[in-house]
């Protein structure tokens, strides 16, 4: 199987901002991403959990976004603008993908 180098970006972001992040990514030309639910976590703003929540303010999502290396900067800049004033983390990993034509 031929594998192609790419970058895997993982963004943990408040669920309330997810729609905005998706829009920003799409605008930056990043059309492929996967959104995972997050059950809880901990950070500088303390621990939290999704259990029994009804407020739309709680909860986070994890975006996983695989891109060609040359689009990484555009992606990070778009993501950063959304996350900037908000809590959350952005993390980049080297990876390899099959079916490179999809990215």
């Amino acid at each position: 199987m031929i594998r192609h180098k790419a970058k895997r970006v993982e963004i943990v972001i408040e669920a309330i901002m997810a729609r905005r992040l998706a829009a920003a990514l799409t605008e930056a030309g990043v059309t492929g991403f996967t959104v995972l639910p997050v059950e809880g976590g901990s950070g500088r703003s303390g621990p939290w959990s999704r259990e029994g929540q009804v407020t739309r303010a709680g909860g986070m999502n994890a975006f996983v976004c695989i891109v060609r290396e040359e689009r990484l900067d555009a992606l990070l800049e778009a993501a950063y603008r959304v996350v900037e004033r908000h809590i959350g983390v952005i993390c980049v990993t080297d990876c390899e993908v099959l079916r490179a034509e999809r990215f």
């Binding site: 259990e51 029994g52 009804v54 407020t55 739309r56 004033r85």
Partner: protein, 327 residues
């Protein structure tokens, strides 16, 4: 005064309140009791749909009456005005930053639909009627307070995020749409529609409310546990959380008397003004004022004011409304 205490006591041993207390105690004792997020959301959808529909069906029966427009207007004005009072008070009694104070103020101007629902349940168990369209007033009071808060921050030079989509998002948030939508469905289908779904939205209503308040208790208890570990909520802030509903409630009651609501309607208007949001406003604050600390406003509205209203507030508001607006 005696009867207020009797009412409060009767209120306290209702399954609804005790379910809340159970959740609170379970969370404080660090039990792993929990309600799945999807179940909690489903319960809230049920409650909003039921309360909206019943309000609409009641209006279809008895007509809007002359005061609907006045009621809506009063609600909107209260929602705009209460945050200004709350903000001023907070700046005096606490050391909250402008942004934090404005965020808290927004919550108190807006409303808690569950508190409203609990008040309707209390009215019903005492056989006191109210204007069905009060749910529309509740919906109308959700959003204006957010604008007041953003204006407060902007005036102080703070940078509320210039979010274009925000106002739209708040006005079309799920709770408002479901409440208003089911209210209109109730108006359209009337008694006939109600008859079709009565055994779904009327009979089991109080029981569902119990489970929902169990969950609210669990969440409030978790919040209070964090607070005990030394969160940012000072005694002065707790005092604010107990005093502010009385101030808001008084304003609500005054407005209700002014526009001539029925005793039940006056009690609900008082409750709405006294209650603090913990669903719509926190979400809006996360978007527009991300620097505001959520544990301050969530602890106050859900951990302090909500239980206060549920236990002491509602019977008090009902008693006051009956005394002043009553026959």
């Amino acid at each position: 005064m005696d009867s207020v205490f009797a009412l409060a006591a009767a209120n306290l041993v209702s399954p609804v309140i005790l379910s809340f207390a159970l959740g609170l105690l379970a969370a404080l004792a660090r039990s792993d009791l929990s309600v799945p997020e999807a179940a909690a959301k489903a319960l809230s959808i049920y409650l909003l749909f039921a309360i909206g529909f019943k309000g609409g069906a009641a209006v279809a029966e008895s007509g809007f009456g002359g005061t609907l427009a006045l009621g809506l207007l009063a609600g909107v004005i209260l929602s705009f005005a209460i945050p200004l009072v709350a903000f001023a008070l907070l700046r005096v009694v606490s050391r909250l930053s402008v942004v934090d104070a404005a965020a808290v103020a927004a919550h108190y101007g807006s409303i808690s639909i569950v508190t409203f629902v609990a008040a309707t349940a209390a009215l019903q168990s005492q056989g006191i009627a109210y204007e069905g369209w009060m749910v529309a007033v509740a919906a109308a009071m959700e959003a204006p307070a957010i604008l007041s808060a953003l204006w407060l921050v902007a005036r102080k030079g703070g940078a509320a995020e210039q979010e274009e989509g925000l106002l739209r998002e708040v006005l079309l948030n799920g709770s408002i749409v479901l409440l208003v939508g089911s209210f209109l469905i109730g108006v359209a289908t009337g008694a006939e529609g109600l008859a079709k779904i009565e055994s779904f939205i009327v009979a089991p209503f109080t029981g569902v409310l119990c489970l929902f308040l169990l969950d609210m208790g669990l969440i409030a208890g978790r919040g209070l546990r964090e607070m005990r570990r030394g969160g940012p909520v000072s005694p002065a802030l707790i005092g604010f959380g107990l005093l502010m509903p009385l101030i808001g409630g008084a304003a609500g009651l005054a407005s209700a008397l002014l526009i001539g609501l029925s005793p039940g309607g006056a009690a609900l208007m008082t409750t709405l003004a006294a209650s603090a949001s913990y669903i719509a406003v926190p979400a809006a604050m996360r978007v527009a004022l991300p620097e505001a600390n959520p544990s301050v406003y969530l602890t106050l509205s859900l951990g302090v004011t909500f239980p206060f209203n549920l236990t002491v507030g509602i019977p008090l508001y009902i008693a006051a409304a009956v005394a002043l607006a009553g026959g």
